[in-house]
């Protein structure tokens, strides 16, 4: 189960499965619900995410776009080696900030 909780004003999302076509849609709905109220500041904790596919990447960009429209932003943390490579090679990583751990990511909003 993907955990979504609120830390102060920041929504922390921790998916427990790959971000791929089959999972991303349900996740998108949950996240949209969770960020409906307040400034959409989102941290995506990728600790338990083994893989991101193109649909996942697309969703990340959409989410960032959405949050940006609402005055917030999305940042990532604790991505594994593979996810980091995927993000770097596809260039998606360049537009999303990545932090080593959750504390650091939350701190960036302070």
């Amino acid at each position: 189960m993907t955990s979504i909780d609120r830390r102060g004003g920041v929504t922390v999302i921790r998916p427990d499965q790959p971000l791929q076509r089959s999972t991303v849609e349900a996740l998108a709905v949950d996240v949209a619900n969770a960020t409906r109220v307040g400034l959409p500041l989102v941290v995506l904790d990728l600790t338990e995410t083994p893989l991101i596919d193109s649909a996942g990447l697309e969703w990340l960009l959409d989410l960032d776009e959405q949050c940006g429209g609402g005055g917030g932003c999305v940042c990532l943390c604790a991505a594994n080696e593979l996810c980091r490579d995927i993000l770097r090679i596809t260039g998606v990583g360049a537009t999303l900030r990545h932090f080593d751990d959750l504390t650091e990511a939350l701190g960036s909003f302070a």
Binding site: D64, C73, A94, R97, S108
Partner: protein, 496 residues
């Protein structure tokens, strides 16, 4: 502007196959002349027609008239247009007439120039009404937004993608310590913010982050502007939009110096408070342990330790009370119960209760109260706590064999309570600070008495809560006098 540009648009001029108005009038007159000439010629040359001469003249006149009518008909549309134009031209001078009625009107005629005129008017009106209305609305929005941007108490900066300043709000120029916005225009904002490419890794990271493609970046900067250190929270977002239009970045600078100070003060307070809590707690535990675990403790020791536990527990309780009260008062959430109070019994009881601790230190505790005191409006428990604290302090910081005096007099609208001791006194430079939370003077520290430095802050807050004041007169070596003044009848803030 818009209207002009509309009209001056190159238009395809439709070449009318019909004759122009001048041609038509000319032809009419030519026809008449030819008619007249032919009539004259016929009447002169054909003798048989001579008797018909009057008739011919009639025909000639008819010809002329017809030509005139044709001309008039031809120029009738022009005349209408002329009169419309004249009406319009007269509008400026005839201000009494409503302007609306004087704008050129459409005309109805079969003439093609009528169509032209009408179309021209349509165009002019369309320009004058519809598009300018849109433009006006746009202008209004843009103007309002621009004014709002200028008026917002927000330090925003709009830069291009290389962080070169294009527009900057006054607030931002003020924060950056620039003279005016022109001083910043075109300059590199990262440099203004002191994010320099000077080989420092953290700085470089900041710079890359800020200039990078990430949509929103938040960072903290410390900046020294004309000698003053300010702390900034910088949020920069990339301006969205279609590709190529309005690419750039919007920055918001927040001066968080004050906030930062508040946070630091709170952290400091918490740290000191925990320290203050741990000390009595630690003692409680240690003494209890000593009693429980040490074998063969004689009765005298046990009693002594129990006494210590008792006083330490009291100290902890008092600390909790004071701390809560002080923080509540600072937060403005203190509940004060206001009743009419006679201070005299409270004070008498106070002195009586403190005779024992005073006697333990061979201190003479005297009191001087008038037979009757006016009442004050206040909170009995809180006032009592403050007074206990003051008398306790006086006894605590007076060496053995000293004197402590409590006296009360009525002064104008005030009841004045003095606590005078013959203690070590408080040096001048510490006098203003003794009321600060957790401040303990050098002498207080040197003394063997435990204290937490919150009592005086507490007492003063209580005095202020009652519209009163707590003040101090002291000289090193001769002692101190703490004076609490409370208004008679309680000129309370809430108007009770």
């Amino acid at each position: 502007m818009i209207k002009l540009s509309h009209l001056s648009k190159p238009r395809v001029i439709r070449v009318d196959r019909r004759w122009r108005i001048t041609t038509r009038v000319g032809i009419a007159f030519l026809a008449t002349s030819l008619c007249l000439v032919s009539i004259l010629y016929v009447s002169e040359t054909v003798a048989s027609l001579r008797p018909l001469q009057p008739l011919l003249w009639v025909v000639a006149t008819a010809c002329c008239s017809f030509a005139g009518l044709v001309s008039m008909r031809t120029v009738r549309t022009l005349r209408d247009i002329e009169s419309e134009l004249l009406r319009h031209a007269g509008a400026d001078s005839a201000a009494t007439v409503k302007e609306v009625a004087l704008t050129p009107r459409h005309i109805i005629a079969a003439d093609p120039i009528c169509d032209g005129w009408n179309r021209l008017l349509d165009l002019a009106y369309a320009n004058a009404q519809a598009p300018p209305r849109v433009a006006a609305a746009l202008d209004h929005e843009a103007v309002t937004l621009a004014r709002a941007m200028r008026g917002l108490p927000v330090a925003w900066v709009i830069t291009d993608s290389d962080a070169r300043v294009r527009y900057i709000s006054q607030v931002a120029t003020a924060i950056l310590g620039a003279q005016d916005d022109t001083a910043c225009e075109g300059r590199d904002l990262t440099q203004l913010l002191g994010i320099l490419d000077d080989g420092d890794e953290a700085e470089n990271n900041d710079l890359n982050e800020v200039l990078g493609p990430v949509r929103m970046v938040t960072l903290r900067r410390e900046l020294t502007v004309s000698g003053v250190l300010i702390k900034l929270r910088v949020v920069r977002t990339r301006l969205g939009g279609r590709s190529g239009d309005g690419a750039g970045m919007a920055w918001v600078l927040q001066d968080i110096t004050q906030q930062q100070l508040a946070t630091e003060a709170r952290d400091q307070f918490l740290m000191t408070a925990t320290h203050e809590f741990r000390t009595p707690l630690n003692n409680l535990q240690a003494y209890a342990e000593a009693i429980v675990k040490q074998d063969g403790l004689d009765l005298e020791r046990q009693k002594e330790f129990c006494n210590t536990i008792y006083t330490e527990a009291n100290r902890l309780a008092r600390l909790v009370d004071h701390l809560l009260t002080v923080s509540q008062m600072e937060a403005g959430s203190m509940v004060v119960h206001r009743h009419e109070l006679d201070l005299l019994p409270i004070l008498e009881q106070l002195v009586e209760h403190n005779q024992t601790p005073a006697a333990q230190k061979q201190i003479t505790l005297t009191s001087q109260f008038p037979a009757k005191l006016p009442t004050v409006v206040g909170d009995r428990d809180k006032l009592h706590a403050a007074l206990v604290n003051l008398i306790g302090n006086a006894i605590k910081y007076t060496p053995n064999g000293g004197e402590v005096a409590v006296s009360t007099i009525v002064e104008d609208e005030w009841i004045r309570i003095d606590f005078t001791d013959t203690g070590v006194g408080i040096p001048l430079d510490e006098q203003s600070r003794v009321f600060d939370k957790f401040f303990r003077g050098e002498q207080a520290i040197a003394s063997t008495e435990p204290g937490n430095g919150i009592g005086l802050a507490f007492s003063r807050e209580i005095a202020r809560l009652h519209e009163g004041e707590l003040s101090l007169r002291s000289a090193v070596g001769t002692g101190s006098t703490f004076t609490m003044r409370l208004p008679i009848g309680g000129k309370s803030r809430s108007g009770i």
